[in-house]
């Protein structure tokens, strides 16, 4: 690949535009010299005009090269034409040699902008050879005398115009290249900023996940301490008391035994509820579909579950989807109103997994959904899976929660 490193479409388009300007200038120069040669009947002038036109033709392959993104090849063709014109002009009109130094430098400046170091070293090598040739031609003692065919003022005017045009083209191309480079740099800076911001979001999300974990442990500790543990402690004390009664011969009443039984059953019920909150056993034992159907059945609002049975998910995905759906259904129970019904859909589409929970309840202003702890948990769980989670709602028009998990392999179901 001869394309120079790190050039985008815009830079290449700019280089092509520069070539076009130079090409037009070459045609005008060749045509102008031929015109003057005819007007002033100067044979050297005719030769010069023809040679400039030939060199302009030499430049033409630069356009096909750049259309193939071959920047290095394009620059070489362009340089060959430009330097060829400089050498021919210096040979025929030694007086114009100082001006031709611009033709020598032009391709080197363009090369410095667009070429990598290795290609640039070669171009500089060629430039040095051309410089030696240009010097030798310019400082030689004999002259063709062709410049004397024109009135001195006209010759000087042509050289001044040539100088001005050349400076304009060259500085214009440098400034355009610079602008492109700055734009590229700004794009890199923007991308870096976006990356930093994503990184900060990730840290914040990770911090929330950890503190949510800690909060959850505190909540569990409180629930165990205030619930099952107190009941078991009470039961232990009552049993000890009953044992003391039995030793003393004090009768134990059926009510006392019933109270102990109730206490033990309450403790078991509380422990079961706690265990379900920590990790639902139905999810590990019977899978996501049954777990979601079980949550839907327990919901106070009617919930229809549509589960694409081609979906087969790893455990992490299943747990996150379960807890996100659980939170969404709890939110419906809390906020959508008693008449709301909901539909929970999980389906594979285009290699992605789509999960949605849509209700026809009271809805709300989307801005209000924002930052409740439950919603933040949902967002964090989704982002940990690389999934997008979106909330849509409108007062009186229900709420929808949609999640897309990209690139989830789907288990193929054998039809036979």
């Amino acid at each position: 690949m001869t394309r120079a490193v790190g050039l985008d479409r815009e830079s290449i388009a700019e280089l092509r535009a520069q070539f076009r300007t130079e090409q037009i200038a070459s045609w005008i120069a060749g045509g102008g010299v031929l015109f003057l040669a005819v007007v002033f009947t100067e044979p050297w002038g005719l030769l010069l005009g023809v040679c400039i036109a030939v060199m302009a033709l030499v430049r033409l392959p630069a356009f096909t090269a750049i259309d193939r993104d071959d920047v290095v090849g394009a620059l070489w063709w362009s340089a060959a034409g430009t330097w060829g014109i400089a050498l021919i002009v210096a040979a025929v009109l030694p007086g114009a040699t100082p001006i031709m130094i611009l033709n020598l430098i032009g391709p080197l400046v363009t090369g410095a902008i667009y070429l990598d170091a290795r290609s640039m070293r070669r171009l500089i090598g060629a430039g040095v050879v051309v410089a030696v040739g240009l010097g030798a031609l310019g400082f030689r003692s004999s002259s063709t005398g062709a410049e004397n065919a024109l009135p001195a003022w006209l010759f000087q005017l042509i050289m001044i115009v040539y100088l001005a045009v050349h400076v304009m083209v060259m500085s214009g191309s440098v400034s355009v290249a610079n602008r492109v480079r700055i734009a590229t740099l700004e794009a890199v800076v923007d991308a870096n900023d976006a990356l930093r911001s994503a990184d900060a979001d990730l840290r914040e999300s990770r911090r929330r996940v950890i503190s949510a974990g800690d909060r959850e442990r505190v909540r569990l500790e409180r629930n165990i301490h205030d619930g099952a543990q107190q009941r078991l402690v009470a039961l232990a004390v009552q049993l000890q008391l009953a044992s003391q009664f039995a030793r003393n011969g004090t009768p134990i009443t059926p009510e006392q035994l019933d109270a102990m039984h109730t206490e033990s059953r309450e403790a078991i019920a509380e422990l079961r509820e706690l265990a379900r909150g920590i990790y639902p056993s139905v999810l590990t034992e019977r899978g996501l579909e049954d777990a979601l159907r079980s949550v839907a059945r327990r919901s106070p609002n009617p919930v229809e579950v549509v589960y694409d049975d081609q979906v087969d998910l790893p455990t992490d995905d299943a747990a996150a989807i379960y807890f996100i759906c659980l939170e969404a259904l709890q939110n419906i129970a809390k906020h959508a109103g008693p008449d709301a019904s909901a539909r929970l859909t999980l389906e594979a589409r285009d290699g992605d997994l789509h999960v949605s929970i849509v209700d026809d309840g009271l809805g709300c202003n989307p801005a209000e959904i924002g930052r409740s702890r439950g919603v933040v948990n949902m967002i964090d769980r989704a982002s940990a899976l690389g999934a997008d989670l979106t909330f849509e709602s409108e007062p009186g028009r229900g709420t929808s929660v949609c999640m897309v998990l990209p690139d989830r392999p789907i288990a193929t179901v054998d039809a036979t």
Binding site: D226, V233, V237
Partner: protein, 141 residues
């Protein structure tokens, strides 16, 4: 009585001067259990309960018929340790025994500094432990 502090109806108290116990705990199940243990302990009588630190302070400040307070460490508002400290600051001399399900080694270091005469593990509460706690605090065992 404010904030859930309640008094049991006056039980026939023999003139042998029973020890009048006030219980502070926010768990109804445990409160009922302490009630049965006190009822089964000769010479002890339950004279009232409270389910928060604030209700306990109010009751303890206004009543003079309390000899012993069984005080849960973890209460929804003030900790039992704080209730005992405030009572001590107010010059109260009632026997205060802390109760908890947690290991006493996990209690804060200053828990027994002011106003606390002893500690009872809730699961080890028996008639003998109750009497023992009173005796240690008042008769040096």
């Amino acid at each position: 009585m404010a904030d859930g502090a309640t008094s049991t109806p006056a039980t026939p108290v023999p003139r042998t001067d029973p020890i009048r116990v006030f219980v502070v705990d926010d768990h109804p199940a445990f409160l009922r259990t302490v009630e049965s243990v006190i009822a089964a302990t000769p010479g002890f009588v339950l004279v009232g309960t409270a389910d928060s630190g604030g209700a306990a302070l109010t009751a303890l400040r206004t009543r003079s018929d309390i000899d012993m307070v069984l005080l849960d460490v973890y209460l929804p508002d003030l900790s039992g340790v704080e209730v005992a400290r405030r009572r001590a600051d107010e010059g109260a001399t009632t026997t205060v025994v802390l109760m908890s399900t947690i290991d006493p080694a996990d209690l804060p270091g200053h828990a027994f500094e002011r106003g606390v005469a002893g500690f009872l593990s809730k699961e080890l509460l028996t008639t003998r432990a109750l009497r023992g706690a009173w005796d240690v605090a008042n008769n040096g065992g």
